[in-house]
Symmetry: C2
Subunit: 470 residues, 2 copies
């Protein structure tokens, strides 16, 4: 199954830097490196060097010296890929990186495909598939939460949970299949009530994992927060204040924002993706109307809706705006935060008096009302605290297993559907062979996640999204 060729790639980020690292992995990694590496010590070869050692020297193309480098030697099986690896640290000119890469290819290596080093690590049993996928997530992580979840998955936290689930089921199916061998005798080796207990437990765990995806996905890609409201409520000003930069154009003219403007901000290690939308109003401006349509669609896809209102709006206007937005929020999981802007225009006590009343809360039908001044940076921290509350941070802090990968989510959902059929089968007392079939299905989907069961197509799809050099 494993391609035996020796692969090479630049593993450091593209572009110029102080140094760059070119990685070579495969049976012939050390042999190829020896063809181009010259130590200042006469007669010194990499093939005679111990594993995990560093060597200064020059990369030579025939008599021509290409660069002075430091070479790291790793030996199979104690390397990232499980194969022999040579890493060449050269001077970071892109020209030099390319020349060395070409020289390695000339000497028998071939250019690595995206993710091929990690794929080999998987194929050589250095990690399971979900761990390999976490490597890519770790590299792409842009926030504390994303890094944490990916690292936990790469270190096997997620796999362990799945392997435990799978083992419990394997014991179960062994007994059920034993019954089938003795089917004429009508015996039951597997105690049905005990089995029901295990199935319920697994079902509960799968459900938790499936449900963790909405958080996991949000952590990975940033939690989408739509900022909506009437024109001129100060939505763009809020975006700029949150990002601490002039991201969106702000003016006193109604309908300044037409395009949807997106930007991300990490709050306490959790990434939020803020979406500033066109203000909602009736207008004949065609472009603005297109913008307003987009506002409604962004609202539907957001995890959190920040409804911005003007402190000068009468109660009825605030009320109807909230009703309008609530009508358009069709998902139960969406959270609404009502923001009352421009409180700097009024006396602080007056604001407190008006919005901190039970009647107002009832009127608006929401608990979360945050009076702020976007322009004067007032109460913004209160708002970010409310935003953090919408995320189940405790799950993160307790190192709970969180699903972040859409492929895992699909497989887990399929497992969950199958285990529910098992549960139903037990309730209705279906035959052992049908029961076994459903359990086999659960095992199959769980196996897909860790790569116990995999196809070239699945592997191809996973690793093509990696960066080259990993």
């Amino acid at each position: 199954m494993i391609d035996q060729s020796t692969i090479c790639a630049i593993s450091t980020p593209p572009g110029m830097g102080a140094i760059a690292v070119i990685r070579l992995s495969g049976d012939k990694a050390i042999e190829i490196a020896d063809k181009v590496f010259r130590s200042p010590k006469q007669g010194k070869n990499l093939k005679d060097q111990k594993a995990n050692t560093l060597h200064f020297g020059a990369i030579n193309d025939g008599e021509e010296i290409l660069d002075e480098v430091v070479v790291a030697v790793f030996r199979s099986p104690h390397s990232f890929t499980g194969e022999d690896i040579v890493e060449i640290s050269c001077h970071g000119a892109t020209y030099i990186q390319q020349q060395i890469l070409q020289l390695l290819i000339k000497n028998g290596a071939r250019m690595a495909l995206p993710g091929e080093f990690t794929q080999r690590a998987f194929l050589n049993g250095k990690m399971d598939l979900s761990q390999a996928e976490a490597v890519a997530d770790l590299i792409a992580s842009q926030s504390e939460a994303a890094r944490k979840v990916a690292l936990q998955q790469m270190r096997g936290g997620f796999s362990n949970e799945l392997i435990n689930l799978r083992n419990e089921l394997l014991q179960f199916i062994t007994l059920v299949e034993l019954e089938l061998d003795f089917s004429e005798e009508d015996v039951e080796f597997a105690d049905r009530s005990q089995l029901k207990e295990i199935v319920d437990k697994i079902s509960e765990m799968l459900k938790k994992l499936v449900n963790s995806f909405s958080l996991g996905n949000a952590i990975k890609n940033g939690i989408p927060v739509a900022i909506v409201g009437h024109t001129n409520a100060g939505k763009s000003t809020l975006l700029n204040t949150l990002l601490n930069e002039d991201r969106a154009i702000v003016s006193e003219i109604h309908g300044t924002t037409r395009d949807v403007i997106e930007d991300t901000l990490s709050i306490d290690g959790v990434m939020f993706r803020f979406i500033d939308t066109a203000g909602i109003r009736t207008t004949t401006d065609e472009i603005e109307n297109l913008g307003i349509e987009r506002t409604y669609s962004k609202l539907k896809n957001a995890s959190v809706v920040l409804l911005m209102l003007d402190v000068n709006d009468p109660d009825e206007k605030i009320h109807s705006a909230i009703e309008d937005v609530k009508k358009r929020m069709d998902d139960n999981n969406q959270k609404l935060i009502v923001v009352i802007n421009k409180i700097d225009l009024l006396d602080e006590k007056e604001v407190e008096k008006r919005f901190n009343r039970q009647e107002f809360r009832e009127l608006t039908g929401t608990d979360t009302i945050v009076p702020i001044s976007a322009k004067h940076n007032k109460n913004i921290e209160k708002l970010t605290t409310e935003l953090l509350k919408t995320v189940n941070i405790s799950a993160l802090d307790n190192n709970e297993v969180i699903v972040t990968n859409a492929r895992h989510y699909e497989a887990l959902k399929n497992s969950y559907d199958a285990i529910k059929r098992v549960s139903l089968g037990l309730d209705t007392g279906i035959s052992g062979d049908l029961l076994a079939q459903d359990i086999r299905e659960v095992l199959h989907y769980l196996g897909e996640i860790t790569g116990t069961i995999s196809t070239d197509e699945v592997l191809g799809n996973i690793f093509k999204n990696f960066c080259i050099g990993k």
Copy 2:
């Protein structure tokens, strides 16, 4: 003189990649690394590890694992800086790179200044100043020629030449200064005619080095080639053909190019910087006229002027265009290549007959006439051969020392002026003390290049242009 703090920086190019390398150098490099590094082998510390070894483990911030890494340990004095160095290869997310860097700073390292690692290598005697400067040139090299010259300089080729020159002078001045001690006795220990020989030899070598700068500078920054000519002669088409991409907008309308368009192309490892200019014609278009003014100024600064003419132009027009351009080329070192474009419009033999005549060469007053078709990619190779001929490639191939650095050029020019005064002094028989003073000046300027003589200001200016992490 050396700051004792331990410094750290990301040494790989900025951005996301498979891996990134964070470098730590100084007395406490290993101690600081040990504070944050945990090996899976219980109780294993970096401080107990041999030089030039690699170690797998995790970077920890307290109980929190930041990333899994491979750490390289180098020990003083056998390292790049001459100090203890730890290099941490982490996953290439920019977020992770930043977190690890911050953690190192929290544990007692400080952020390195640009070029500070190389500066320490210089201050610790691992390389002289001109070698240190070559490190930056090597990293910035974008062509084979630039890489070659920088590598030769980094490996000490340039310094050796200077040290030899300086040693010959040192012998000389010892004798002259001895004379001064015995000045009342009017003796001459230094044989003046022998000394004159040495001074002439040194003067000759300095002159050669000073003159090599125009080639060296061109290699480093690309040889500027101005493409000039009448409107619609096909200048932008030629640029696009040379670059093999649609870089400049091409149309049949006279005066399409107004801005000066620049792009570089490496021909046989030598970088040329092509400058497409606005066509020269009398026009009332103000923007175009500004463009034409720029054409004239680019022409003056170019090393090579490519004058593009239309094969349909009558001999007189070609003649006057060449005369016009020659008038504006005020530097003797500028080379002119006359390019006759659009030869696809005529019969090949006819073209050959017209332009390969002695009369035509005399008429145009140049040897280098290249008939081409930019549009049909005809004779372009002939043109690039002519371009290469304008460069003294043999100097490169013979590994001659070439000055590429403006600072070295200044110092060499000052040495050359001083040695000429020495030579004149010998001819006119000036007193030994004045002679000694001029020789001291030569020694001073040569010493500045290798850093035998240096000031904090000079060092600061040199290293501030380095990238961080080197």
